[in-house]
């Protein structure tokens, strides 16, 4: 069976600057994949490519065996992304969490919104009626995460989900995303700086530095190879281009 995502020869450039070059990367369905590495290493760019928000400058991304180019709108129905600094629509919490469900014409929006809010530790009775500007920074993040969880996506991409969250909120996020995989088989790709947090939940962690896959060196002294490597195959350039 082919992997959920297959990236081959993918290069991304912003203007003249090359920000990502991946000769090959396969992401199997159902894994929790971590992305680590320094700022500007290419983590966010990779997530935007996986979210079909941008098309690569070169190379091919296959999703479930098919090239993705030109099918972005349809594919974004299965893949959603939780950005580093989430944006809430100027509406109520309920309308924000329900937005993705509404555009899909999903039934039971109300109860699914309530369930998603409960997943991120927000009492629907207290929070659903609030407006976007009546929330703290941490609550904004949790509402935004609830909006993604409510969709029960096949793939959930998270860009530094625990940045600026306190320990309890980070634990809530961990439980919520792990539950998404256990209950709905969601594939997760999570970037982050918090090594401990990442290692606690990921099957495998990829290192991105200077836009390419790297092996952790001295700067990642805490890195411990995953116990079960799984079937993620970051193949570095020497091997993929014989």
């Amino acid at each position: 069976m082919s992997a959920l995502y297959e990236l081959a020869g993918v290069v991304q450039r912003y203007g003249e600057r090359e920000v990502l070059r991946l000769d090959r990367l396969d992401i199997p369905e159902g894994v929790i994949l971590g992305l680590a590495g320094p700022n500007g290493g290419g983590k966010s760019t990779l997530l935007r490519l996986l979210a079909f928000l941008e098309a690569p400058a070169a190379g091919v991304i296959r999703y479930r065996g098919e090239p993705t180019f030109g099918r972005e709108y349809a594919l974004r129905g299965e893949v959603t992304c939780f950005p580093q600094e989430p944006y809430l629509l100027k509406r109520s919490v309920r309308a924000n969490v329900g937005y993705g469900l509404s555009v899909r014409g999903a039934p039971d929006v109300r109860s699914r919104v309530d369930a998603a809010l409960a997943l991120v530790g927000l009492d629907p009775g207290r929070f659903a009626g609030r407006m976007w500007h009546q929330l703290s920074g941490g609550e904004v993040k949790r509402v935004a995460l609830a909006a993604r969880l409510a969709l029960r996506p096949r793939v959930l991409l998270l860009d530094e989900p625990t940045a600026n969250l306190d320990r309890d909120s980070a634990e809530l996020v961990r439980r919520a995303v792990v539950a998404a995989r256990e209950e709905h088989g969601t594939t997760l790709v999570i970037s982050g700086h918090d090594q401990t947090w990442l290692r606690a939940i990921c099957d495998e962690i990829l290192w991105l530095r200077d836009g390419g896959l790297a092996t952790p060196t001295q700067e990642s002294g805490h890195f411990r190879p995953s116990q079960s490597p799984g079937d993620i195959q970051p193949v570095d350039s020497d091997r993929s281009n014989p």
């Binding site: 989430p86 555009v103 500007h133 909006a147």
Partner: protein
């Protein structure tokens, strides 16, 4: 000082006594403002939205032209429209000169650049995270469009309020294209100018009170809508 206080007292008598000439001017003002605002918003809001929402070659030039028109002298608008709708003008046969519709056309031209420029700016100033957020939540092109419109609603309201302020209180265009005809095209502003010129302060003050009252009421309503949503 006395004649001012006398004027104020007589003004209140005119207003509360329901003086028909005063109320004719108020009514005409409301009708012409309503017509001009409807046309301005129907034409200007979509144009401004598209100008801010889309990218196309020549966009910067159009923005520049629109912004230049923001400071277009109102007498020139009056003059140009007059030339077009006067008997000898290309639209002379429609008989629009010295009519309420004629005034509304001039006032629409006054309001359009305001609504277009402010709407375009409101849409351009929306948070850059809005589009990727909508896309990753699964919105299609149409849904992105309407959600963007919703996010820009306060900007649209501001554009409409600004255009209303100019249209409602404009005098030059109303005078030139309406002709200040009693019972017909006399508006609050043209009446005040005429009555003050004649030394009839009472009517002028009465009409001034109505003009300010309506302007305040509209702006209060607009800011109440904003406050209800934001605070």
């Amino acid at each position: 000082m006395n004649y001012i206080l006398d004027g104020l007292r007589q003004a209140l008598e005119l207003l509360f006594g329901g003086d028909p000439e005063t109320f004719s001017a108020v009514w005409t003002t409301l009708i012409v403002t309503l017509e001009a605002m409807a046309a301005t918003l129907l034409l200007g809001a979509p144009a401004g939205f598209m100008l801010g929402y889309t990218d196309f070659p020549g966009k910067r030039v159009i923005r520049l032209v629109v912004e230049t028109f923001l400071s277009f002298p109102t007498v020139v608008i009056g003059l140009v429209v007059y030339a077009f709708i006067s008997r000898r003008g290309p639209l002379g046969e429609l008989g629009l000169l010295f009519s309420v519709t004629g005034m509304a056309i001039g006032l629409t031209i006054l309001g359009l650049p305001i609504v277009i420029a402010l709407t375009a700016q409101a849409v351009e100033n929306l948070d850059s995270r809005l589009r990727p957020t909508l896309l990753t939540l699964g919105a299609g092109p149409r849904q992105v469009f309407f959600a963007t419109l919703g996010e820009a609603r306060f900007g649209l309201l501001l554009a409409a309020t600004a255009a209303f302020g100019r249209i409602f209180s404009e005098i030059g265009i109303s005078m030139m294209l309406g002709g200040n005809i009693k019972w017909s095209t006399r508006t609050i502003t043209t009446a005040i100018a005429l009555e003050t010129g004649k030394g009839e302060f009472a009517t002028g003050i009465a009409l001034g009170i109505v003009l300010m009252g309506i302007a305040f009421a509209v702006n209060l309503a607009a800011s109440a809508f904003r406050r209800r949503a934001v605070a």
